[in-house]
Amino acid sequence: MLAYTVRRVLAMIPLIVAIATITFVLMHAVEGGPFDSDKPLPPATLENLKKRYGLDDPLPVQYLNYLKNLAQFDFGISIANNRNITDIIRERMGVSIQLGIATFLFATVLGLGLGIFSSLNQNGIGDYAGVFIATIGAAMPSIVLAPILTIVFAVKLGWFNVLSSDYGFTDWFRGDFSNWRQVVLPTVALGFLPMAFIARITRASMLEVLRQDYVRTARAKGLAEFAVVIRHAARNAMIPVLTVLGPIFAGLITGSLVIETLFAIPGLGREFVRSVLIRDYGLIMGVTVFYAVVIAFMNLVVDLLYGFADPRIRY
């Protein structure tokens, strides 16, 4: 187990270096630099600016410096607001993590619940309702769902205030949930697609498991239905669900770019979109590499969890 974990972590390193390299090459192939403006800068100013951000070195030197700094988790300085990129990421991350946790809980809890509920009422009204929601979810990506939710719940009904320009970030870990009215709609919009996905997989694998002999045995020895479903069936049905958690997590990160822009949430995703539009090289590279590391790490966690859920798997 430990050996496997170490091996996986080590295997992540060339992958991350490769991603960093590709990002570097792509960024420097982009037409136009960060100092482009309608009024051309005086050459001397441009020279100084380039020196300040290390853009006057030859490309290979820039690349090596970049990799060297990366190894120390130093992403350099943002050109747009002259701040340390590591600080920016650290600062913005909190908001994104908050949204991520809320969405993840929403998607897994509701998805599992809906899937189990559907499977227990197979071909009944409840099942059709569950499958219907799951199918609608597949056609409602965040970009479609978010406007609809906003029109209905924020504009027409006025239940949630997502349209106010300042998103209030409060630290949930200190027990301050006063911004929940602003979190609900983004969470639903971002989490609906993964929720539907999880529900569909849970339903399929529950139907498979419920037919097994050990479930019949559990029922025959007179266990309560709840214990049969949760302890005997659902635990085993979880295994296929676990395998898709990795991709779902990656999808959440990508989705947060849109949702954060849409709901004006000052998280890392919105920061990335902004940095692309103004060609802030350092920030773009920093965020991309950071996301790649997070996704690779989450995939590792999911693979390890897989071993806990299914003891037959040994590493």
Binding site: V30, E31, T135, A139, P141, I143, T254, T261, T288, A296
Partner: protein, 323 residues
């Protein structure tokens, strides 16, 4: 006398006599199964209608009465009327015309992406499965790398890199492939470069298992050249899985484009894509929500229809799920 003229026994003509009953091959059977799936048929018909109408928009005044890019400041932010079927936007442009333009753009993105994805994916998947251990290792590492790259980030970066330079076919000026202008091609290429991994893995897996099948061994034993074995015996057997994967890939590509358009990285302003329509609709959500509803509904319809069609195709083509 006459009897001697006739040969004693006619050679039995199998081809003429026996097997001239109605043949139903794999594809005909799959087609029948697909037709029996009402949901998939309905989705297919709706998609065909949408495609036809949006294609016809540029040619017929009956379909599209206004130019999608021409503003009319006498008629801004109108609600649906007999004149403007879906109303007008903030600049008085006809929303029906803009919706059709955006839909056509999205469909081109979806279909164009799958063409490139299939080309890259099938080639790499085949090369990985058939060209030896080293090429397998290298190509699969590349695939893992492309998979690990955060999708939307890669698309945005590639798009920025490719835009605004004078590439051979993409070009800057007039479209060299009719109907496919530079921005569209760049977007198609950018989306393709992150989505080929699924097809590559799929094809590799299929090829690896087909390679061990008896009919491939038989073909080789009869002296078929490797190329012939691949072309005649192996490729057609991966086709059904590839078609299904491509169908599911279309809504994903449409969604990716809509996302780009929404955050302002879509087509340049006078033109419309579904994403940019949603984006500009969101800006005027408080004063004129109609503007937001149409493109949102269209994206949902497209995604739903392609998903249903994909489900139907999978049931029809995949032998394992046959009932």
């Amino acid at each position: 006398m006459a009897a001697t003229d006739q040969p004693i026994a006619q050679p039995y003509d199998f081809l003429e006599q026996q097997f001239h009953t109605k043949q139903r091959g794999l594809w005909a059977q799959a087609w029948q199964r697909l037709l029996r799936n009402r949901l998939a048929v309905a989705a297919g018909v709706i998609l065909l209608v949408i495609l036809t109408v949006s294609l016809a928009a540029d040619f017929s005044r009956t379909v599209q009465r206004y130019d999608p890019t021409v503003p009319d400041f006498q008629a801004t932010e109108q609600n649906p009327s007999r004149d403007h079927w879906l109303g007008t936007d903030t600049l008085g442009r006809d929303l029906w015309a803009r919706l059709l333009q955006g839909t056509l753009f999205s469909l081109k993105i979806g279909l164009g992406t799958q063409v490139i994805v299939l080309l890259i994916g099938v080639t790499i998947g085949m090369a990985a499965a058939l060209a030896g251990r080293y090429s397998d290792t290298i190509l699969m590492w590349l695939t893992d790398l492309a998979y690990a790259f955060p999708d939307l980030l890669a698309i945005i970066l590639l798009r920025q890199v490719l835009l605004g330079r004078d590439w051979p076919i993409i070009g800057e000026g007039d479209p060299q492939i009719p109907g496919f202008n530079g921005v569209l091609l760049v977007t198609v290429i950018a989306i393709s470069f992150v989505s080929w991994t699924t097809v590559a893995r799929l094809v590799r897996g299929q090829m690896l298992s087909i390679k061990e099948q008896d009919y491939v061994a038989a073909a080789r034993a009869m002296g078929a050249s490797p190329w012939r074995v691949v072309r005649v015996h192996m490729l057609p057997n991966t086709l059904s899985a590839v078609i299904v994967s491509a169908t599911f890939g279309i809504p994903l590509a449409i969604f990716a484009e809509a996302t780009l358009g929404f955050i302002g990285l879509g087509v340049p302003p006078p033109n419309a894509s579904l994403g940019s329509l949603i984006g500009s609709g969101l800006d005027s959500i408080q004063v004129h929500p109609v503007q937001l509803i149409w493109p949102t509904l269209m994206v949902a319809t497209l995604m739903l229809c392609f998903t249903f069609l994909g489900d139907g195709l999978r049931d029809a083509l995949d032998p394992r799920t046959r009932h």
